[in-house]
Symmetry: C2
Subunit: 192 residues, 2 copies
DNA sequence: ATGATTTCTTTACAAAAGTTAATAACCCTG
DNA sequence: CAGGGTTATTAACTTTTGTAAAGAAATCAT
């Protein structure tokens, strides 16, 4: 159950089996069905999730419809980070897209864990840095690439998600409407 | 010379005077003229800057013209973070907009400093988290707000920069052309 | 299985922003 | 203080994307 978690954090630091036992004791296992809401906008994100199985979608809501901010895959930590880090209400929500198996830790427990296993501080810094780098990458693409290029990059790097996620959710992630995505796909199909 | 730096990091952790002496020894003071290039895209960002005085602009270059990613003020750490954190070539550049006074630390020295003063690890995590939160905020605004709303927020929260930074650099930060910014400003002047 | 959503595409039209170019005002800088 | 560069605005035109609506295909739930 914890194999994948330790595999992930071992990239950032080495942990003894005592460390591991302490760490394990702070996480709880949770199974949730698809389309389940984990964090609602306006609320404080109290929990951080490590995804053993399933797909999680982070999104903004504007008026009636919503805009995908990120899709978290297996073996990643996920949360409404901004809200989680600040422990203040955020404007993002987090849902499952598929039936999911999660390892859950609360904010308070995480702070305690930093004290009990200081090496986790390094892991946390690295993860924060990684998330920052990732956010930057997405942001760069928003700024520098056309919607068409963004779609092509998405197709090239995350083609598996095309089968697991409705296109209109991907469209909003790319910053366009489903209509526009459809046009782009047609344009590319017709050989430019 | 270090007053402002310690004031800043004291928000995240408490430091003894021995700590301070060690920390000071790792930073060097540097004065640079306006329009000076600190980090060039394609190169690895080897240094992190704490701004005692002046204004720094982080930007992307696309074809001939460039797009402002962020404007760093006094009393902030600045760098091409993505490149700095990964120690890999990045696609951002960093210039001074005004004559500046900087405290500089190299990536390698920073890693050593983490070892010598482990409390700096907490500071680094907090700063990484803050930068992430900040990136998120800008990104949210990109996604949720119209260019007009972004301009109004900028005007409301960073009005001092309007006098220190050319409008076309702000326009690209808002994700629009100078022409479009001019139209928006006119629209708002004419009482909507 | 079948009726009801959800999802995707397409069309026609409208709105927003980009592009190019011309002009005027403002600084630097020598 | 003169001239070259930068900066900001405006206009005309083009391109892109959004909006609304309708229909077809796929998926879901009872």
């Amino acid at each position: 159950m914890f194999t994948s978690l330790f595999h992930y954090i071992s990239r950032f630091n080495t942990f003894t089996s005592e460390d591991r036992q302490i760490i394990e004791s702070y996480f709880t296992f949770r199974q949730v069905p698809k389309k389940f809401n984990l964090i609602k906008k306006g609320k404080i994100a109290r929990e951080l999730f490590f995804i053993n199985k399933g797909l999680l979608r982070l999104y903004y809501t504007k008026d009636t419809d919503d805009i995908t901010a990120f899709i978290f895959r297996e073996h990643l930590f996920a949360s409404c980070y901004e809200s989680f880090l600040r422990q203040a209400p955020g404007n993002q929500s987090l849902d499952t897209l598929e039936d999911a198996e999660l390892l859950v830790i609360s904010y308070d427990d995480l702070q305690t864990l930093y004290k009990k296993v200081p090496k986790m501080e390094t892991v946390a810094r690295k993860i924060a840095e990684q998330r920052f780098i990732n956010a930057q990458l997405i942001f760069s693409s928003y700024i520098l690439d056309s919607p068409e290029e963004r779609w092509q990059k998405f197709e090239a790097t995350q083609s598996d998600l095309l089968l697991r996620v409705p296109h209109h959710m991907i469209a909003s992630f790319l910053g366009i409407t489903p209509v526009s995505l459809s046009r782009i796909r047609k344009r590319l199909m017709d050989g430019k």
